[in-house]
């Protein structure tokens, strides 16, 4: 059964239009003009319990607005949203009991207090039973390596340490759904790894549903099973990660190690089917699309001018695919 359901969800904002110069500002004061801007434009999706979903898109595509509607911070302009049987903007406080959220760089911890004090306040706020609290605290301390951090003031923690504490705070009350908005931004590789491992671990053990928005494609590569791609307020892809790659990742990169090369290859070969991106006397890098040709045909063409010793082929990575999509958009 779906734990999150969005039906024709729309959010419009009013933005102020101002004429230029001081006169424009004065005019605005007496006769304000507004323009409608549709941030989320009729999106539909269902997310099942325990799914790990990567919600991606460019800056301003409508990701945060969607998340804000799912959490009940924002009221949709139209459409329906049901989370765990509740309408979040109507029963926000009730809904908050079942969810956890990390919003980028903003901390939910008490800045001047030791970390453990924040955890205690969270325990009180969410009415976490003593036993459950102890069990989670012990487990999270181990998984996220918090042992030496708990007694430190939050303001004295490094970004990575803070984010580890933040993640622990978010999962402390066993939320059914967790929204993570850029949880790994600005962190070093080891901390990123640690956090990704933690999310997967908790998901496996507690069947927590996780919605992750991120610009770090590796987060999605490693954590998510499913991708929802949003562009200009509309969903342009929704499905399994592998399907996403199959759909968009038609470009194949190949590296050929060659010998006895004669002259400049790119000048001699002018094929529509593949492009040479880099070449030297021993190495040729090229790109081609599955739809147009095969590696055998490419080889045939190339070997007219040199001897091919070895081939390396590589499917497009998620990052390349996204770059392509964003560029087109």
């Amino acid at each position: 059964m779906a734990i999150i359901e969005a039906k024709n969800l729309v959010k419009e904002y009013k933005t102020i239009i101002k004429d230029k110069g001081i006169l424009g500002y004065i005019k605005h004061l007496f006769k304000p003009k507004y323009e409608k801007f549709t941030a989320v434009d009729g999106i539909n999706f269902e997310i099942n319990e325990g799914e790990l979903v990567g919600y991606i898109g460019e800056n301003g595509a409508g990701k945060s607005t969607t998340i804000k509607m799912l959490t009940g911070i924002l009221t949709p302009t139209s459409g329906e949203v049901i989370v765990n049987g509740l309408v979040p903007y109507k029963s926000r406080i009730e809904n908050n009991k079942n969810i956890g959220a990390v919003f980028g760089q903003k901390t939910q911890l008490w800045w001047d207090l030791p970390v453990i004090e924040s955890f205690r306040l969270i325990k009180k706020m969410y009415k976490i039973p003593e036993g459950e609290y102890r069990k989670n605290l012990k487990k999270f301390t181990e998984l996220l390596d918090l042992e030496d951090l708990l007694e430190k003031q939050v303001k004295n923690l490094s970004l990575g340490q803070k984010m580890r504490c933040e993640i622990a705070a978010t999962f402390l009350h066993n939320p059914k759904i967790v929204y993570l908005d850029e949880p790994t931004i600005g962190l070093d590789v080891l901390v990123k790894e640690n956090i990704r491992r933690f999310i997967k671990n908790i998901n496996k053990e507690k069947n927590t549903t996780v919605i992750l928005t991120t610009h770090d494609v590796k987060d999605i590569e490693e954590v998510c099973d499913r991708i929802i791609l949003i562009d200009k307020g509309k969903i342009i892809f929704d499905g399994e990660k592998q399907k996403f790659k199959d759909n968009y990742g038609k470009n194949i990169k190949a590296e050929l190690i060659v010998k006895d090369k004669v002259g400049n290859m790119a000048e001699k070969i002018n094929s529509e089917n593949f492009t040479i991106t880099e070449e030297s006397n021993e190495l040729i890098k090229l790109k081609f699309s599955h739809e147009k040709t095969t590696i055998m045909n490419v080889m045939e063409e190339i070997s007219k001018y040199c001897k091919v010793l070895d081939i390396h082929m590589q499917e497009s990575e998620l990052e390349d695919i996204l770059k392509e999509i964003y560029k087109k958009g």
Binding site: K14, L74, R92, I93, N96, A101, Q108
Partner: protein, 264 residues
């Protein structure tokens, strides 16, 4: 009712956390208390100067005015301590986007905002207010009985609640004007009116601070009772406090709903 108690209990937890945070900055705390105390001393000197030229103000003697002043100061202290965090709603919470974070908690955001108070400098007010009040009771030969102490304590808190309720209503403006905090500032400018007996003001101001913004119920009517001038109006204070808070919470919820649908 259970809900209200739970919210109050959470509010107390937040305030305790704030006190702990504040205690870390001991120096800030001490300097704050001293400077606030100094401003009040200046105010008292001002009253003293006024009375060098006149023996009474609208029928109130120097000692009686200072008694009102001391009692007002204690209610202001209660209000600052409990409710001044509403001042941060615009500049700190909404403008910096911190408010969304509060909306994710399973608690009414007003509780979270109020609970973030760090205004403990107002303890200075409490001390000065208490000293002045005791001195004036003695000078005016009003016996400090057990019953008077209980009444004083109760109505100082009620006064703080009335002030806090009005401040909370004013704070709602921050949902729209979070860049400037002028509206809450207006509150601070108006409430200083209550430090003097309303008899010295013109008809309009009298009506304003009795019925529209019922500041007169904070300290004026209670003081009238202690002085034996009016024995009845004081008992309206708790009712005024309840009405003010029903309005405050209603207005707050309404503004919150608006805010969530525009998403500034």
């Amino acid at each position: 009712m259970k809900n209200v108690l739970r919210n109050i209990s959470l509010y107390i937890s937040f305030i305790i956390a704030s006190i702990k945070e504040m205690l870390i900055y001991r120096l800030d705390c001490i300097v704050g208390i001293l400077s606030q105390t100094l401003t009040q001393v200046v105010e008292i000197i001002f009253i003293w100067i006024v009375f060098q030229n006149t023996s009474n103000l609208a029928g109130w003697s120097y000692e009686q005015i200072l008694l009102l002043y001391g009692i007002t100061l204690m209610s202001i202290s209660v209000c600052s301590f409990l409710f001044d965090a509403t001042y941060d709603l615009g500049p700190v919470f909404i403008r910096e986007g911190e408010f969304d974070k509060l909306l994710l908690r399973p608690v009414h955001p007003l509780i979270s905002v109020l609970g973030s108070s760090k205004d403990f400098v107002s303890f200075g007010y409490l001390v000065i207010g208490l000293i002045i009040t005791i001195m004036m009771f003695t000078k005016l030969a009003i016996p400090i009985t057990f019953w008077l102490i209980i009444k004083l304590l109760f109505f100082i808190i009620i006064g703080g609640l009335i002030l806090g309720g009005i401040e909370t209503i004013f704070s709602v403006a921050a949902f729209w004007t979070y860049r400037s905090n002028e509206v809450v500032w207006t509150f601070y400018r108006v409430y200083t009116l209550t430090q003097y007996p309303i008899d010295i003001y013109s008809g309009f101001v009298k009506i304003l601070i009795t019925f529209i913004l019922p500041f007169a119920f904070v300290a004026y009517y209670p003081t009238m009772d202690y002085l034996g001038f009016n024995k009845y109006m004081i008992w309206l204070s708790p009712i005024v406090a309840i009405i003010i808070w029903i309005i405050a919470i209603g207005v707050w919820n309404w503004a919150l709903k608006k805010y969530r649908s525009t998403g500034t």
